[in-house]
Amino acid sequence: MTHGFAYNVLSLGVPFSVALLLASLGEMFNQRAGVFNLGCEGIMCIGAFLGFLPAYFLKGGAMAGYGNLLGFVLAMAAGVLLGLLFALVTVTFRAEQGIAGIGLQMLGWGVAGTLFRHFIGGVTGVDGVASWAIPGLSRIPWVGGILFNHNPVVYLAFALVPASWYLLFKTPWGLKVRAAGTEPRAADSMGINVNRVRYQALMLGGAMAGMGGAYLSLCQAKMFADDLVAGRGFIAVALVYFGRWSPWGIMGGALLFSLAQSLQLAIQVGGIKFPYEFAVMLPYVLVILVLAVARKARMRGPSHLGIPYNREMRY
């Protein structure tokens, strides 16, 4: 496999982007509906842990083949539940979303860490999801290895990009979501139940964040550790700003980030001297820069992002 530097960077970068992409697409639905869910990080932590758990327990047993699937189902179910919890707090109780998100993040961290210490204890690997080369396409020289030789979840995640675009812009439900985030009062007067739409969007977003977490533990790292998620949930939130609340923009942002990450890995493997800590810092610095540059984009964002809807109040 001597394909050269660019090949290595690209073929690593594509699967790296998936966890960010999934969580970020979910967060896009949240924010389009008007809810800023910083708890994404916590949901990903729990998703990563629950995704890992069945594969760990079924390892080597007769049911081992179902471990991964069960993991994804569990992670998504937990994501829906946590989305529901966040909806209860921010939609029904109209709590301040930023702080509530930090609460959810701490809850997710704590639960995943506690359960991990009790059930597993130390770092153990699982087989994870094997890659599946698409017949024919993966034989294309160079490009085939970069795009068509990954695990099935990668293909699914990229298929979800046009699917999310369709759902958001071409279906009645997508219109309701956008209305709830932009003009909730008008939406309400047209008979749309704003709070119900926000609940639904948060549950969908939770499921996708859970799936992103399970991807991290089952497909990317093939193990679970306390700091596995390492702020990817927050980066996913930032990517929504960067991608201007559109699935295509978000995909671009996720790829940009993962390529930066794989580039950094490739440079380190290549033996160029660079303090390790500064390399790890890079994506976080990038987030801040991206947010500073994406300033103008905010004008085009959902205008009622972060504002709880209260039917009984004028504002």
Partner: protein
């Protein structure tokens, strides 16, 4: 009605706390621990000896300092999640100051160490503050990112430029600095324990924050900009500048917390020194209603929880991460409860229900304006 108002607020906080305890109990059940026994250990364990009691206060000191800073920021309309990183930067600056001038007398060096911590934390926070005020960068996201960056920065210094030369000689390579000179160390308050004079500093600063926020023009400007930025701008308050000021002050307090922690407890910069105080401080600030008079008891309460959680980890094998669960649920419960606390309508309905149930009638019910 005033008595009722107090009881109403108290009941809501109580319900929120019970909800949080219930959620924590669920997690405890999931790992096969006895929730009741665990809670009893957490709340009574630390009181068994003098050392336990002083440990509560040792934890309460950084919690108070961090929470005071967070309260300033929240009151001024800017959310600071970055206390963890600001603490680390404060520790770096304080340690650097202490080991650079070991020969200075204590009366000079110790204040300079604390001051260095304050400057370190304040400078780090000013990044997030200016990004928010002048480029509109969401401060929650930027402070979270700055936390991750600060951790890396901190470990870089501990592994490289600041590492104890003895660690390199023996080859163990533990990332830690040399021990601070004796003249940079806060004296003990109770001999034989870890309780240090930082406690007094924390209490004094709590009073200072109270006077600053409620009895100075500067403090009023900050609170006005936080409560109603548009109105504040019409009144001639420079809102952007006050956002940066608030964030910097918030960082200053986190930095002081770091300096006090390194100079009072650990006596050298080590890894994982902030041990989650930056996040716990958010809960303490919210639980203390963003007021110094509430923050001090809240900090003692959370100090108790932290010490108790360590004890259950040792005695019952319940992971200390449990405390994060409790903190997370508490945040969710408190922000949810706010709707009922500040809502005059909900309060009045509860009052009517109360009078109907008790049979007391009060025709002239007066509640505050809609907030």
């Amino acid at each position: 009605m005033n008595k009722f108002k107090l009881a109403y607020g108290f009941t809501i906080i109580l319900i929120a706390t019970l909800a949080a305890a219930g959620a924590a109990a669920l997690v405890l059940k999931a790992i096969g621990a006895d929730p009741w026994a665990t809670f009893v250990t957490i709340f009574t364990g630390p009181f068994q000896d003098v050392f336990g009691i002083t440990e509560i206060l040792v934890r309460a000191v950084p919690l108070t300092l961090v929470a005071l800073g967070i309260a300033i920021a929240f009151r001024s309309g800017i959310i600071n999640i970055g206390a963890e990183g600001q603490m680390l930067m404060g520790i770096l600056a304080a340690t650097g100051m202490a080991i650079s001038f070991p020969l200075w007398p204590k009366a000079v060096l110790l204040p300079m160490v604390i001051l260095a911590g304050a400057v370190g934390g304040g400078l780090w926070a000013s990044i997030a503050g200016s990004l928010r005020a002048y480029l509109g960068v969401n401060e929650i996201l930027s402070t979270v990112m700055l936390n991750y960056i600060a951790v890396q920065f901190y470990t870089f210094f501990l592994r490289g430029p600041m590492i104890d030369p003895a660690e390199l000689e023996t080859g163990s390579g533990t990332p830690q600095s040399v021990r601070l000179p004796e003249s940079a160390i806060l004296s003990k308050l109770v001999p034989g324990t870890r309780l240090h004079t930082g406690l007094i500093l924390a209490l004094v600063l709590a009073v200072v924050v109270y006077f600053f926020l409620w009895h100075t023009t500067w403090g009023f400007r900050l609170r006005a900009a936080g409560a109603e930025p548009k109105a504040a701008r019409y009144a001639g308050i420079h809102v952007e500048r006050s956002l940066v000021t608030a964030m910097v002050l918030s960082g200053v307090f986190a930095g002081i917390a770091g300096a006090v922690e390194v100079s009072g407890v650990h006596h050298r910069a080590i890894e994982a020194i902030s041990s989650g105080y930056g996040f716990a401080g958010i809960v303490v600030a919210l639980f203390g209603a963003l007021h110094p008079a509430g923050i001090i008891p809240a900090a003692v309460f959370f100090g108790l929880l932290l010490v108790g959680a360590d004890m259950t980890q040792r005695s019952a094998g319940v992971p200390a991460n449990m405390i994060l669960v409790l903190q997370g649920v508490l945040i969710l419960a408190i922000v949810s409860a706010k709707m009922y606390l500040n809502n005059a309508y909900a309060q009045e309905r509860a009052y009517r229900l109360f009078t109907r149930l008790t049979g007391k009638s009060d025709a002239t019910v007066k509640t505050g304006g809609q907030s």
